[in-house]
Amino acid sequence: MEASSIIDIPDDCLIFIFQALDCQADRESFGLTCRRWLHIQNITRLSLQFHCSFSLFNITPSQSNLSVESYHLSRLLTRFSHLQSLSLSGCTELPDSALAQLGSSGHRLQALHLDCCFGITDIGISLIGSSCPNLAVISLYRCLVTDEGLEALACSCPGLRDVNLAYCYLITDGGLRALLRGCRELRAVKISFCRHLSGIGFRDCSQTLAHVDAESCKLEPEGIMAIVSGGGLQYLNISGLSSGLRADGLCSIGEGFCKSLKILNLRMCRTIGDESILSIAKGCPLLKEWNLALCHEVKLPGWESIGRFCNSLEVLHVNRCRNLCDRGIQALRDGCRRLCILHINRAYRTSAIELFKLHRGRVQIREEEVMCVGPDWTCR
């Protein structure tokens, strides 16, 4: 019988063996053995991020001052041709031309992070669109992308699921509408701090849209109605609403389209009044977490409606609400059967809170003011 050697093992078996290695030193030695094994090591790499990327995988940034250039990227993309996730976050000098390298292996790319890539413009975005048709997750935090870039993305990447457009102050409702029309499987959209968006771009969004983060946007009432029109919304963050909505400005949330809403963040929506609260409390029966910190116009009728109708509510934030009186706390105490955690400042209403603790001993009272409630976008 012929002696067989390790050279005869086919590639897919080698890949299997490599993936079973758990020690970093073993994996490095594997790649150093010969060219073929280096190739195996390269094609099993599924994600790549640079030292300047923040937050993605909890890696502490190294002290290196090397800035990532085009030729670095081209060599890395040639070497790692089976990447599924690429993060260029923090590469502030990278130009559009660098993204042309994605052409060869882009069809395997599913997640792309371009946070703070200030050199990338609409041209770069269209290059991404043409090279990566299977893109599902894209993050353009603080990028200089405009409506044209969004339209390019909508045409070429119809399978987009998660889009982060926080601080992209150049985009308008037109671009957003194009994106939502083109990508019918969109699940999560983050448009925080985009000051030119009023929300009407969300009209006719698909039912798959479950997560909308529009913190500190100047949303109009029609915009809010458009955001909830899809019918599948589960998480909505409109904290820091900088347009002065009327007291009943949020009634559209409770008018039947948000039946599956679970988490609602209205922190610092200081003009929202009791009519909106009543509408939301009645119209969102599955609401589990509600942040009403600094909502100063919510008065006794509002608190009473929360107590009466929010039967699934588990976490409630009422920090620093100026019009939360003792009777309001009593209304919350007598209702909200499922409440587990209440975030409230003790200093102003100590006796009412002590009565609350007496009657509802199981509810945890916390003083901390939480600004981000619900699932973090990056942890998908």
Binding site: G240, S242, G244, M268, R270, T271, L294, R320
Partner: protein, 106 residues
């Protein structure tokens, strides 16, 4: 001509928290860190910070920064003590920078 109902209010530019009244303006000719500033006799819904000695255009003063009670944005300062006789009138009054406050509905 629009009817103005109620007092003319200024709000924090960040979160629209009411901070002062137009009727409380004593002077409009002050200079703040970001440009023009007004001297008010009263301010509301602000948090007064720690006292510190600062050399301003008009001399040495003890001032405390004031920030919006809701969003924490620094809006100006309060004069705690003035060390020059001619500046004593400012004690206890508030400087709010024009760039940090906006007119509320008037």
């Amino acid at each position: 001509m629009e009817e103005i109902l109620g007092p003319r209010l200024y709000s924090c530019y960040n979160c629209r928290n009411h901070v002062c009244l137009h009727d409380d303006i004593i002077s409009k000719t002050f200079q703040g860190r970001t440009g023009r500033a007004f001297l008010f006799s009263h301010a509301m819904n602000v948090v007064v910070g720690h006292k510190e000695d600062r050399h301003l255009l008009t001399g040495l003063h003890t001032v405390a920064d004031i920030s919006c009670s809701d969003c924490g944005e620094v809006l100006g300062w309060k004069y705690v003590k003035a060390y020059d006789i001619s500046q004593k009138y400012k004690e206890g009054k508030f400087i709010l920078e024009k760039a940090k406050i906006i007119k509320e509905n008037w």
